[in-house]
Amino acid sequence: MLKAIIIDDEQHCIDRLQLLLGNHSETIQVLGSYSSVEVGKKEIDRLKPDVVFLDIQLNEDTGFDLLSQFERIDFEVIFTTAFDNYAIQAFKFSALDYLLKPIAEDDLEQAVKKLIKQTGLRDTSQRIETLFHNFKREIGHSKKLAIPTMEGLVMVDVDKIIRLQSDVNYTHIFIATNTKITTSKTLKFFEEILDPQQFFRTHKSHLVNLKYVVSYIKGKGGYVVLSNGSKLEVAVRRKDLLLQKLKTI
């Protein structure tokens, strides 16, 4: 049985989530619901829940303000939000789960299933850390990407990613340190979250960090040669756009 608490500043949202979680009463027990950062912090410390359903906008504060008060986060966090593309992007980056309001029943079901699978690993701190790291806006600051793998979560500096290659439903990520990470996320997932100014889909199976392109070899679509020596095919339709991007770098 998982212990859960809900933190949201709107009662109808709490009510709806409680109603929906009622369908999962054999796996999740809602210990309480709170509407402010202050109370939420206190109650988390007291109740030590396994999972917190956390709204992003909490009156004048945010759910992030709440999380930043913990030194170590040993509970799972599922963010709930109505519409915030920027935050959703950040969650995807940090491999954090989220639910969109109004919450669809099947979405919640998916989230609960994942919770049951994940409990015990408890790498939440790491992911929240990654989230906060990515929120920093400093010059020359490189974002970190939390990549779920078979062995667990791997944090990767985005600037260190040379390229990504799709392999059916898996993606191989090649890092500058000469390591390869394989994840069950699709290449499309990464294409959507990574900065399109930096990463370019040269081919159906290839997403390339333009920073590591050393040369372009002419051809029908041609090839790009990367600093690690790999030579990748460029799709005919991506050629013009690629050359345009390479020029602007």
Partner: protein, 597 residues
């Protein structure tokens, strides 16, 4: 006196030409060589010039043809030095024929060539020859300048004969100016060199001139000695011309000294020699000497006869001289005229050049200004076109979003949810709401995108049709068929481009049909386009037309605009056809086939 000097120039001139070319060849052997060897090469040019040079003094007119041929061959073979030599020879020939104008012209042409060639020796000889012409024209300053240049080069190149020529010529100019004192040192220096060289002809000529100088200075005794010396050398080298001149001078000086016997002797000897050679000027001189001698002997008959002869010969000489003088004046006039004409021509050309230049600059400025104006105008038009297009794009995007999220749809959906709630059908109300929010979210997200995959678009349209189906109490069914040769993940279409037609079918075709109906959507590939068909079995357009509210046509209009923008950007030929069919309505749309990769 002047004609004597002129002859003296000619001696030197002749020497110059021969010295440069085949000095030792005789005329006959040269002519033979020309007949035997007809190859048009530098050797022939040299031979031709030598032949012409040989003829300079004797037959200048026939010498001209040789020089002309040399000139032609030189130009043919592009031998610049040959050309310069031929020109100089032609100049010499004209000079001998007293055609100074042409002579000068040829010398100057030759000089230009030799300066270009950097041939200093040739240039210096030409300077000397041009100096002769200046001396003849009594332009003594210019003559001295040229002779000095010639002399300087001769000294630099250690060419003794040319030093002698230079020195002599300078001295002769001073003599001509009656500035004997200035001239004598040059002559003495020249004489020393000539003695060194052991050149009798030079010695004879120089001594003759020295004698003339001392006579001018009234040092008759010294003058007489020099004349005797000149006479001696002239006899030994057999130069009758100098010999005659010296004898006449001896006669004249002796008269001045009062030695009439010696004068008579010299005069008679000179007369017979000059009669022998047919030299009129010397005959005139000889008769003058004899007339004075006879007068002194009181032999008035002979004196008168001699005087008459002297006058008659002198007149003919004077006539010649006058003719020469006239020719000289004419030439000077001609030269001045030419110079004026040349100056005018230069001025005119300068004016024309300036005119052209000004015109060109003006034209260039006008052209540049015109271009800038044109460019600015063109850029403005281009800018306006682009901004217009951008405005149209933005406007269409906004309108597309609004047509997809149109208030009708929003409030009808909310109304349906409200209706379900009042009827306590919470399950359906919930399902409706979740789908509605999902669709709304997707539309908002995708409204920023120009293209999405067919797969995503299909999901959106199905979501939309599901919502409408819920509202119509499941009276609506749909099928969505995409041909296998369209890979839905990789094929792109503009988001929700078919939505307005689906909406039309639902609202104006099926909603009005009590038993409900079916919408069939198909996508096929062909001709680089995707052929999309939205077909319904509703009531058709004919029934809906009278009550058309304009909104549906608005949706179609926006879609047409979107397609037009795509056609402009991608240079494609997408189009929309609205067709009434038996028991329904059909929309055919061609959109460009775009692949993601």
């Amino acid at each position: 006196m002047s004609y004597q000097l002129k002859r003296y120039f000619s001696f030197l001139l002749l020497f110059l030409i021969v010295a440069v070319c085949h000095a030792q060849s005789t005329l006959d052997s040269l002519k033979n060589e020309l007949i035997e060897n007809t190859t048009r090469d530098t050797l022939r040019i040299k031979t031709l010039i030598s032949t012409s040079a040989e003829l300079t003094y004797t037959h200048p007119k026939s010498g001209l043809s040789y020089a002309d041929e040399a000139l032609v061959i030189s130009q043919e073979t592009n031998w610049k030095k040959g050309e310069a030599l031929a020109l100089r020879q032609k100049g010499n020939l004209y000079y001998v024929q007293a055609d100074n104008l042409r002579a000068l012209d040829h010398f100057q042409k030759a000089l230009r060539l030799s300066v270009d060639l950097g041939d200093d020796e040739l240039s210096s000889t030409l300077n000397s020859n041009i100096g002769h012409i200046h001396a003849d024209l009594k332009e003594y300053d210019k003559a001295l300048e040229r002779y000095n240049a010639f002399l300087t080069f001769a000294e630099e190149s250690n060419n003794i004969p040319n030093q002698i020529r230079g020195l002599s010529n300078i001295a002769i100019v001073y003599n001509d100016l009656e500035n004997y004192e200035e001239g004598l040192p040059y002559l003495e220096k020249a004489l020393k060199l000539a003695e060194q060289e052991d050149n009798d002809f030079f010695q004879a000529a120089i001594i003759n001139n020295l004698a003339l100088g001392y006579k001018g200075l009234k040092e008759y005794q010294k003058s007489l000695e020099y004349y005797h010396e000149a006479k001696g050398i002239a006899e030994s080298i057999g130069n009758k011309y100098i010999l005659t001149s010296a004898l006449n001078s001896i006669g004249k000086v002796n008269i001045l000294l009062g030695d009439y016997d010696a004068a008579e002797k010299a005069g008679k000897e000179a007369l017979s020699l000059s009669q022998e050679t047919g030299t009129i000027e010397w005959q005139a001189d000889s008769w003058e000497v004899l007339s004075k001698v006879y007068e002194h002997q009181k032999n008035s008959v002979d004196a008168l006869d001699a005087y008459k002869k002297h006058i008659s010969y002198r007149d003919s000489v004077l006539n010649e001289e006058k003719k020469a003088e006239l020719a000289r004046k004419e030439m000077q006039f001609e030269m001045e005229k030419q110079q004026t004409a040349a100056a005018q021509e230069i001025e005119h050309q300068q004016l024309v050049k300036n005119g052209y230049l000004t015109g060109a600059i003006l034209l260039a400025i006008l052209g540049i200004a015109g271009y800038f104006f044109y460019k600015r105008r063109r850029d403005e038009i281009e800018k306006k076109k682009i901004s217009d297009f951008k405005a149209k794009v933005a406007e269409t995007e906004l309108k597309a979003l609004r047509s997809q999220m149109n208030p009708h749809f929003i409030f009808n959906s909310l109304n349906s949810i409200s209706d379900l709630i009042t009827k306590n059908d919470t399950e359906n109300a919930n399902e409706y709401l979740i789908k509605f929010s999902k669709l709304t979210r997707s539309i908002l997200e995708n409204s920023e995108k120009k293209w999405i995959s067919v797969q995503e678009d299909q999901e959106l349209m199905e979501l939309y049709m599901q919502i409408e189906s819920l509202r119509l109490k499941n009276k609506l069914s749909y099928t969505f068929q995409v041909d296998d040769d369209i890979v839905v993940e990789d094929t792109l279409i503009p988001p929700l481009i078919l939505q307005p037609f689906i909406e039309n079918s639902i609202w104006h075709g099926l909603a009005k049909k009590p038993e409900g109906g079916h919408i069939n959507i198909t996508m096929k590939k062909g001709d680089g386009l995707i052929h999309c068909v939205v077909e319904d079995n509703g009531v058709g357009r004919s029934k809906t037309l009278p009550i058309q509210d304009g909104k549906s046509s608005m949706g179609v209009k926006i879609t047409r605009n979107r397609l037009e923008i795509i056609n402009t950007l991608e240079e494609t030929k997408g189009k929309i056809d609205l067709l009434d069919i038996e028991g329904g309505f059909r929309v055919e749309m061609m959109i460009p086939f775009e692949l993601q990769f």
